[in-house]
């Protein structure tokens, strides 16, 4: 693997991490104010559709972006109405928004363009173009230049505006949440809304503000996937990114800079998955690694109670079983034989990592204390 390949994987990482980052920060604002948002996926999808559709019709990507933000903020307002004003179940409301977006985008796209639930391909002007930094070499000549030039031209230059915007959102979010009065109050609304109310500040107002910010960020992310990453809308194109961003948010323990790290990690996993179809490892390392995990689990549950022994012990037996299966499979050709790591394993890794974080095996993720609870003002 040469240097250029590594740079290209990192380049892919940035491109794939950008929408995750925006959606993750959207979730950050919402959840820090005490409103759980399962509906990120739906907002992303709706924004992707409307931005592509409006950009195609108007010919201007900027009007498309505004339309995407508009529909996303609209869905956010619906979520706010259900979960803040009507004090309904926030998770149910989020689920409903996801379905609403999944259904409406296809129904409207079919009625509007009649192409089976997609929009026509966007021409230049109706999509975001890559920004080429001065002096950057085109990809054809990339192999002939030095490593620093490769780094500059491939990794730093050549992204669309929204990628740089996504990266800038991280310090901005950090500043707003930790260095402004609004941010302090917003975080307080998620931890102890009664205290915020006692101080004479409207919890409802703060939570609506947070939900609207989440809508704007999801709108930008949706416009990014339909007008930058790809050049049209296709059915279900958000492809679970909203849920992955939710996973990244937990992975990041509800903090902006950690969110950058988590999204880059998950983006990296996707970039690796895109770039290498076959990841080969020697059989001994795979089987040995699984066996070590099984042993570690067994050691961990040794002094725990029956249920722990049963569940985690069962998991350990499962891992040991897979490890044994690998050994049996390569017995004839020797343990040094290369084995292909299943593609689905790399794809599932973000979810598995998130479960491990949630379980508290890799650091403890503590959600905002009043998250998911509607605030009822005392009378």
């Amino acid at each position: 693997m040469d240097f250029l390949t590594i740079i290209q994987v990192f380049d892919g990482t940035l491109r794939l991490a950008a929408p995750l980052l925006l959606v993750c920060l959207a979730g950050l604002f919402s959840e820090r104010s005490g409103i759980f948002d399962i509906g990120l996926e739906g907002k992303l999808l709706a924004a992707a559709f409307l931005s592509a559709a409006v950009a195609f019709v108007s010919g201007s990507v900027w009007i498309g972006l505004l339309a995407g933000i508009g529909v996303s903020v609209g869905l956010s307002a619906l979520h706010g109405l259900a979960s803040i004003t009507m004090r309904g179940d926030q998770i149910v409301s989020g689920v409903a928004i996801n379905f609403l977006a999944a259904g409406l985008t296809v129904v409207v796209a079919q009625a509007w363009f009649g192409e089976g639930g997609r929009t026509p391909a966007l021409k230049s002007g109706a999509r975001f173009e890559p920004i080429i930094f001065p002096g950057a070499v085109p990809s054809k000549e990339m192999a002939d230049v030095g490593p620093f030039m490769q780094l500059y031209s491939e990794l730093l230059s050549g992204h669309t505006l929204l990628v740089y915007a996504a990266l800038l959102t991280v310090p901005l979010s950090w500043f707003v949440l930790y260095k402004t009065r609004f941010g302090l109050r917003l975080r307080a609304a998620g931890e102890n809304p009664a205290a915020v109310d006692t101080a004479g500040i409207s919890v409802v107002g703060l939570r609506y503000a947070a939900v609207v910010i989440a809508g704007i960020l999801c709108g930008i992310a949706g416009a990014y996937i339909a007008t930058s990453l790809q050049a049209n809308f296709v059915k279900d194109m958000s492809a679970g990114r909203g849920y992955i961003a939710l996973a990244a948010l937990i992975f990041a323990k509800w903090r902006p800079w950690y969110a950058l790290g988590a999204c880059l990690l998950f983006g990296f996993l996707f970039a690796v998955d895109n770039r290498f179809q076959n990841i080969l490892l020697p059989a001994w390392s795979l089987s040995g690694g699984l066996l070590l995990m099984a042993l570690a689990l067994t050691g961990y549950v040794w002094r725990k109670d029956l249920l722990d022994k049963f569940v985690l012990g069962g998991l350990a037996v499962g891992l040991a079983f897979i490890s044994a299966l690998i050994v049996v499979n390569v017995w004839g050709v020797g343990m040094g034989n290369q084995i292909k790591v299943p593609v689905v394993f790399i794809q599932s890794l973000p979810y598995i990592l998130t479960v491990l974080v949630l379980a508290g095996f890799v650091g403890k993720a503590i959600p905002p204390r009043s998250g998911g609870v509607p605030y009822v003002k005392e009378k």
Partner: protein, 363 residues
């Protein structure tokens, strides 16, 4: 808060929500340039005026009864099982393994084995998030969502790898042996000498297992000590704990029952319909279970009626997609609206009804 009599709360609120959802959907159909009344008549004709339509409706309803019951059982313990999709996928894996690798002599034995395989696999897949919630405090909604994706990965791994027959391109297992074929409604009608009923419709005997599951869940929740503990825990965890009901036990058992019910959906789709394990056989039924449970107010009878309604909508939606320009996804919109009105905006739906009852009571 007893402004409304109980019957109004149970009947009128879901009904009112449904009418609101229907009105909004009618507006949507108008907006895309079709006639709502024609669309509605088409759905009725395609579903209720033909026996095959009934066959499809009951087939879909069977799935939704299982997933709806699963979500309801979890609701009674104040747990939100959003992982029905993943549990159903694992249930499918269980059904596939049982049907492929055990030589069953007769379908009646095969369906018992397949049900157990499906239930055990679904149970394991719900048990892990339950364990994480009970012992480590991880939020069950997030873990079950993650487990949906992991289940999709596991199913994909088996269908493109070990379980795919050699030389086949499609991500699916080999066909199950003919001995595992479940009698469809068509077979049963022929048994009684009625020809040309339910022709090639996929509804099969698993529908009756779903009905049995309804009775079972009713008995469990309202007539058994365990059900009492589950409901007590759902009303107030600390109070139940004070009365000696352990949270770990209730969370584990409730989620495992829920997972088993979701998994059993697979006997209908996998053993009953496709007769081999395929990708995406769940078709979102795990999520529809949420709408069904909310609409049916978490009561088995309500779940049964709501599942029939959604079965009607799914079959009607297929008819619409066939004869008009309205895509099937319209049903997803209706489903979203039902979830929204019955689950998240209940206060908005109840307020005018409560006003009405107050006004009636005054004189």
């Amino acid at each position: 808060m007893d402004v409304m009599p109980k019957w109004a709360d149970v009947v009128l609120v879901p009904l009112f929500s449904l009418i609101l959802a229907a009105l909004l959907s009618a507006l949507l159909i108008l907006a895309i340039g079709e006639s709502p009344t024609e669309a509605f008549m088409l759905m009725i004709e395609g579903t209720l005026f033909r026996s095959a339509g009934w066959g499809y409706m009951l087939y879909y309803a069977t799935n939704f009864i299982f997933t709806g019951l699963a979500v309801s059982v979890a609701f009674h313990a104040s747990l939100f099982n959003i992982g029905g999709e993943g549990q159903a996928m694992m249930g499918g894996l269980g059904v596939g393994l049982v049907c492929l690798f055990i030589p069953w002599p007769h379908w009646s034995l095969a369906i018992i084995g397949a049900s157990m395989g499906a239930a055990i696999f679904g149970m394991i897949w719900a048990g892990l998030p339950a364990y994480l919630q009970a012992k480590r405090g991880s939020h069950i909604v997030i873990t079950t969502i993650m487990f949906n994706f992991i289940a999709a990965g596991v199913l994909n791994f088996f269908l493109v790898g070990p379980l795919k027959p050699a030389g086949s391109m499609a991500p699916a297992t080999a066909n199950f042996p003919t001995a595992t074929h479940l009698p469809t409604f068509e077979d049963m009608a022929q048994l009684f000498g009625i020809e040309k009923m339910f022709r090639s419709a996929p509804a099969n005997v698993s529908f009756f297992i779903a009905l049995l599951a309804c009775v079972g869940v009713w008995y469990l929740i309202w007539r058994s000590p365990l059900g009492y503990e589950i409901r007590a825990f759902g009303k107030s965890g600390p109070a139940a704990r004070y009365a000696g009901v352990g949270s770990v036990k209730i969370i584990m058992i409730t989620m495992m029952i829920s997972g088993a019910l979701c998994g059993m959906m697979a006997i209908n789709t996998t053993q009953g319909e496709s007769e081999r394990l395929i990708l995406n056989f769940t078709e979102g039924a795990g999520f529809i279970g949420i709408a069904v449970a909310l609409m049916g107010r978490s009561h088995p009878l309500g779940v049964l009626l709501a599942a029939l309604l959604f079965g009607f909508l799914y079959q009607g939606g297929a008819e619409l997609a066939l004869w008009t320009k309205i895509p099937r996804e319209l049903i997803v919109v209706i489903q979203a609206l039902v979830i929204l009105f019955t689950g998240a905006l209940t206060m908005m739906v109840r307020a005018p009804l409560e006003q009405l009852f107050l006004a009636l009571r005054r004189p």
